[in-house]
Symmetry: C2
Subunit: 171 residues, 2 copies
């Protein structure tokens, strides 16, 4: 078995956010897909280690901000590789609270999708959250979504130890 | 709500195959993601209308062939837009049966991932199948995976009425 095959699967790059009481949090993710058309339903996979996981579990909502290829590591880096439990990831970014109460990022983002969790599935280190789309807006029609491939090759972005295929890369 | 936002999510292009007794079948899909690293777990979303759905339900296995950007519509077209119930989709393609008994496509493919279904989730028109990776091989290291964007823009590929975001495009 060649685990490198799993890296041939194509992904985009996203900031997945949620809230917990008065707190908000967000993290980088590549694992976002639409799984059904009507009602429109999105699926994300989040590491149980992450504070965002705790927030989604409690609030039952999440928002996906779609990162564009205009973003630099200075724009999106603060959302990865460290926990929002004791660090304000939003300190230097422009954001707004959406209708579901979770924040969406405004600068250099293609758009955002708000969801309400309708189901979840335990998957060892990760939980898959399935969300009904409650809001979706394009922020900039001229921007192209950033691919995971671009993130690695152009931005030299690293893999988080909580990524859905971290173990695969190690091998 | 602007449903066009959902088209800003990035996907690859795949042929998802399975078997039912002595029959094999396969279909085009863009909805393939890895959701956890250890054990490596993949997720696909398949329309209940599709014969592949019936095959996966019965056999409990599926294989993902990763389409490269060298493929033309003549290579991958036969796997979409018509049912394998009364048409042999494999007539003009080179394939082999994998260890799980489902076929993987050989020509112009980056590689393939074999899975054993460990869970499924009903999602209205679609079923999400979660599979443990049992085999994964790269067939050609020089090929680049085809993105869904490339499929639409370069190959002028159409959306199946059973796609996970068909309804969204209509709107």
């Amino acid at each position: 078995m060649d685990f490198r095959t799993l890296f041939k699967v194509t992904y985009g790059m996203y900031i997945v956010s949620s809230k917990k009481g008065d707190n908000i949090n967000a993290q980088l993710s590549n694992t976002v897909v639409q799984i059904s058309p009507d009602p429109a339903t999105m699926l994300i996979s989040i590491s149980k280690n992450n504070y965002t996981h705790e927030c989604i579990k409690e609030s039952g909502v999440f928002t996906v901000s779609i990162i564009s290829d205009r973003c630099e590591m200075t724009d999106i880096g603060p959302f990865g590789f460290r926990t929002g439990r004791n660090y304000d990831k939003f300190a230097n970014c422009s954001y707004e609270l959406g209708k579901n109460g979770a924040p969406y990022i405004k600068d250099k983002m293609c758009g955002y999708i708000e969801c309400e969790v309708i189901n979840s599935h335990d998957c060892c280190s990760h939980t898959v959250f399935i969300g009904r789309v409650t809001e979706a807006e394009i922020l900039n029609h001229d921007l192209q979504p950033m691919t995971y491939d671009f993130y690695h090759k152009e931005l030299k972005g690293k893999l988080s130890k909580n990524a859905t295929h971290y173990h695969a890369e190690e091998k």
